[in-house]
């Protein structure tokens, strides 16, 4: 789907056209779920669902053509971090679905190790690492998504990098 086509669909969906919204959901749900599952573990699909509905309600605010994927990740990340902050003091371990990836082959084992390494990161560092390393956002884009200054983002990324290197040492070699 090109940027202009997506913008037209977004305009129609904002006006209440559910068929247009369905096309947008089908175009973005898979990539969004990939991100939210790694961010929120077992709650990833629920987070993706909430994100798509929140995005639909706010579609009128989407101004930039072709920016929907990044915009949805922004909504998902902020909702996730806000929710986790609201749970401050309660148990906050993200439950990653490792069962599905528990195949005995090397790639399955590596995937488990990577997910465990991500799981050990604090929420904001995990979100920053996923946005920059896995989703390919620039530092300034990630800083905007996380609503933190660029310098702070760089510190967060440095901490995430330092935490991930030893945990992934075997895979990096």
């Amino acid at each position: 789907m090109n940027a202009a086509g997506e913008a037209e669909l977004a305009r129609r969906a904002a006006g209440g056209d559910l068929a247009a919204f369905a096309v947008l959901v089908r175009a973005h749900e898979s990539g969004l779920r990939r991100y939210t599952r790694r961010l929120a573990g077992d709650d990833g699909d629920d987070l993706a669902q909430e994100t798509l509905l929140a995005g639909w309600r706010a579609l009128g605010q989407l101004r930039e053509e072709g920016a929907m994927a990044g915009w949805l990740r922004t909504i998902a990340t902020r909702r996730f971090l806000d929710h986790r902050r609201s749970l401050a003091g309660k148990a906050q371990l993200v439950e990653l679905d490792l069962v599905a990836a528990s195949g005995a082959d090397n790639r399955g084992q590596q995937r488990i190790a990577i997910d465990r390494a991500l799981n050990r990161l604090p929420d904001r560092e995990r979100a920053a690492a996923l946005l920059v390393f896995a989703e390919g956002h620039s530092h300034s884009e990630a800083a905007e998504i996380l609503r933190i200054p660029l310098g702070t983002l760089k510190s967060v990324i440095a901490r995430a990098r330092a935490a991930l290197i030893p945990l992934l040492e075997g895979a990096l070699q």
Binding site: L18, S30, L118, V132, R161, L172
Partner: protein
């Protein structure tokens, strides 16, 4: 050095997207549809409430106007002048009945 590590981390953290899930997409669209229905219903309810509040206001105004007619001047069984506050009250009541009847039809 950092760039190289970042590239390798990016390679490791990159993940394939899960298979498209039509049931998931349908569920999201169904929830949006439900929300649209709910919004429309809420709008109708609020509009109805406003109409009924206006009608109630009209009734209260009618009674206030009727109360201002002096019974001793009109007298029981006397004709009520067309321009009197009581007639105005009756007109407002008639309007309310008309509005109510149209709302009920809709």
């Amino acid at each position: 050095m950092t760039d190289d590590i970042d590239r390798r981390l990016a390679g490791l953290l990159a993940a394939h997207s899960p298979e498209p899930d039509p049931a998931f997409a349908d569920r999201v669209v169904a929830l949006a549809s439900f929300e649209l229905t709910l919004r429309a219903s809420r709008r109708r309810t609020i509009a109805q409430l406003v109409k009924e509040a206006a009608a109630l206001g009209a009734v209260l105004l009618s009674f206030a106007l009727l109360a201002r007619t002096a019974p001793e001047s009109a007298g029981f069984g006397d004709a009520v002048p067309l321009g009197s506050p009581a007639m105005l009250g009756v007109a407002v009541l008639a309007l309310w009945a008309l509005t109510g009847a149209r709302s009920a039809k809709a």
